[in-house]
Amino acid sequence: MSPMNPSPMNPSPMNQPPMNCDLFRRSLRAYLRGDIPEPAFGVMVEHEAECDECRRVVTEMTAEVDHVGELSFAAVAAAETSESDLRGTDSRASDPQRLDLGSLLGLTTGADCAYVEQRLGEAPEEPLTKDLLRLVDTHLEACPSCRQLRDVLEDLPRWYATLPVLRADRAFKAEVLRRTLGPEPGFWDVLRALWRRPEAVWEAAVACALVTFILFGSAVGRRAAESELPNRASLQGVGSAVGSAVVRGIDDGASRAGRVARAPYTLVRDGFDGLHGFSSHASSWMERVVTNFRTGDYEELLNDLRVVLEPIGLYPDPAVRTADPATETAVDPAPSDAKTETPREDGTQ
């Protein structure tokens, strides 16, 4: 049967009849063989999907079709019979050569091409039996178009390899997650999630205590630094008194433990002292810088900057700073002379 013949299973696309169970089952063998062209094939697929009864029939028939070549052998046998009928003899009884199905298939046209194409299409999954292979080979020898098709089908993996393989990047995943789970959680969302944990209360308490201590401690330190000795002394006095009392109490039990216990207090006191010294130093330096800048005393300003920049290596060497290409060769390379001429080194100037 040629796929192009007008038949119930090969309707014209323009006047395609509505599919019903009767038409579907009449066309079923051709459908399973793959002999139904589009769009009738699509109509049958849709009917199969919609009709439970027809789907059951398809499932039963599938077992039959899965038995490789059964239908084709039936078709060939039918062709043989009709040829015998035409000759008026039983060719199979009189001439054993007539049983050569390969020759018969090779000599025929139309439907045989469709059959061979179907076998070629399923070849990778369904290796042909020896007999079928012989049938197909015989046909291929006589049919150039099927040979061409076989070559292309065998070459399909190489064709497929030309398609690019895409890789999903991070942006793809981020976009999918954003569109499904919502946007990335903000600061407050994270905070809320953290707060919901059972241990969050203790963590918050410790954090609050720490923050309070830092704020309180710095405020007291600042006040002591601003009001100079009396307050600072009183702070230190209170600290010393408390510390000494604690230390004395502990010393009664164990003097070693007392020394250890005194250490944090001493550390805090030294810290305050250091902080106070540094802040006094820094504020007086800043005042000097601002005053020099306002009065235009740039030499002094440079000297002030030098105090800060030189220890960290950012203040340029005066010899290099003032040198220009013309005078550079005239600079005396002797380091001892240069050192004695540096105004700040010996305190004179």
Binding site: T62, E117, E125, L163
Partner: protein
């Protein structure tokens, strides 16, 4: 490592990390499936994202006994086919951008070979575009995605025999379309 089904069960309990893992595991496969259906990189990206969004929206409809992969592929297939049918109305020749070939090329490959590969890819795209929806999905699922016949049958909810005949028919159609395209180019 957790199975897809275990992860998806966690997703149903709104476990964001499990969902992230599912997306990571299947994003490239679905992206390529979409690309093989629509033949355009940008459209494929949008389509693949839509697949995951649909999957997330219908997360509660998942039947626990069902294979997750089959569920995902059937959803992806439905969306891809819808897209393919819509696009068929204004079908055009897909022009694959050159940058899509960067991943494929080795360092020493010559420009001629790159061009030849691109020509073949264009021909294949043209041939694929001539296929019907059913044939195209058969080719994509079996030959591109390398799903087993049973997986395809479960995804499409048809008998295995039907799947075999569709694949066979689709390959023949594709082979003929390639031959036609080659003849057109040669002439």
């Amino acid at each position: 490592m957790r199975t897809d089904e275990e992860l998806f069960d966690l997703c149903r309990q709104r476990d964001a990390r499990a969902w992230e893992l599912i997306v990571e595991r299947y994003q490239s496969k679905i992206l390529n499936l979409s690309y093989q259906f629509c033949g355009n990189k940008d459209e494929a990206r949008d389509l693949a994202q839509d697949v995951f969004i649909r999957l997330y929206q219908t997360i509660d409809h998942y039947e626990s006994g069902r294979t997750f992969k089959t569920w995902l592929y059937s959803m992806a297939r439905n969306l891809c086919i819808d897209h393919y049918r819509r696009r068929k109305k204004d079908r055009r020749v897909v022009d694959t951008p050159v940058d899509e070939f960067r991943d494929l090329e080795g360092g020493g490959e010559s420009q001629d070979r790159t061009l030849a590969k691109r020509e073949r890819s264009d021909l294949l795209h043209k041939a694929l575009d001539t296929l019907g929806t059913i044939s195209r999905e058969a080719i994509v699922m079996k030959d591109f995605q390398d799903l087993s016949l049973e997986e395809i049958a479960r995804t499409l909810e048809v008998p295995v025999g039907t799947v075999k005949s569709r694949i066979s028919r689709a390959r023949v159609e594709l082979g003929k379309a390639i031959l036609r395209s080659e003849r057109t180019v040669q002439s």
